[in-house]
Symmetry: C2
Amino acid sequence: MPRSSDGRERLIEAGVELFSQRPYGSIGVAELCARAGVNKGSFYYFFPSKEALALAVIDRHWSWQKGVWTGILDGPGTMLERLRGLFDATAQMQVDALTGTGWVAGCLFGNLALEVSSQNEPVRLRLQEIFDEQIEMISARLAAAVESGDVQPLADGVDGAAKAIVAQLEGLVLFAKVFNDPSQLDALWRNSLALLGLTAPAAA
Amino acid sequence: MPRSSDGRERLIEAGVELFSQRPYGSIGVAELCARAGVNKGSFYYFFPSKEALALAVIDRHWSWQKGVWTGILDGPGTMLERLRGLFDATAQMQVDALTGTGWVAGCLFGNLALEVSSQNEPVRLRLQEIFDEQIEMISARLAAAVESGDVQPLADGVDGAAKAIVAQLEGLVLFAKVFNDPSQLDALWRNSLALLGLTAPAAA
């Protein structure tokens, strides 16, 4: 059987699908091959290990997600409107997952981070880079918003605020997964405004 | 061999240790038995399944952690000082784990939440209760702090603020785990103040 690059592609797609739905440790090479419709020999022709496929899956998913983020963050509207659009899109993905599979998928990177960080060094290091990129993507837009006067200068700097917002996103996605309820993300916008110093407690 | 309740206790202790360090899916009954020094027959005498042990481990860990939280949150100082004390203690636990094992352990509940929520309904439902209890513990103290004037009335209410703070905690613990660096938690206090609409601790 010819080993076309199509088999590699199908394995990556199967990995994105399975690793997004179930624990990394619960998915073996045999199941990945069955889902992709390739035999085990072909798997090892394309990838030396499940970990190697996982790294390709992470890169594929980030490449896709980064495109979505960039499209929204560089789209129309004020920086705050675009940030809100990004959060709405994130919540909608969890709604779609719940509708399609019965389960809130959560964040593939967050899931892998808590499951395998202390077991799999290449995955952990790649996830570091991705979280740093996410923070940098938001930080750069916050800097532009401060520059344009949309946002006041931030006490903790734009990098600190961006990291706080991504941490809030990951924490609320965790709740969405535990409660299997995407509406846990409803507070993300309000909380992000507070982290940007843009809301004050209600008057007594 | 007599099956004393000591064997049950040792299995729970082995579970707390192993499930805190490695993915749930990577730890089998045989390893738990070896660590606890009990045989497999004894395991199934005490627990019908690994899941049943996991639930006992979760309850044990939460019973311990709730005691730590209560001791700090009802201890001396203003509510804000006590909240800060809780965060310092949380960061210190990650420092201790790093020193002892070479790895930031993260939060047992957060780890299980992202690994097994969509696979294990009893565990997911128990984790819901625990996160709700954590939020309620902080919410009750925030309500007292608003009452006493330490904190201004919160736009999103004390429950919303408490949930935002626990989400921030889980998000930064995730970063601490991915970066294997407890100092990721250094921003927790500052970010929590922002989520409370404060930029500096209220005067005592």
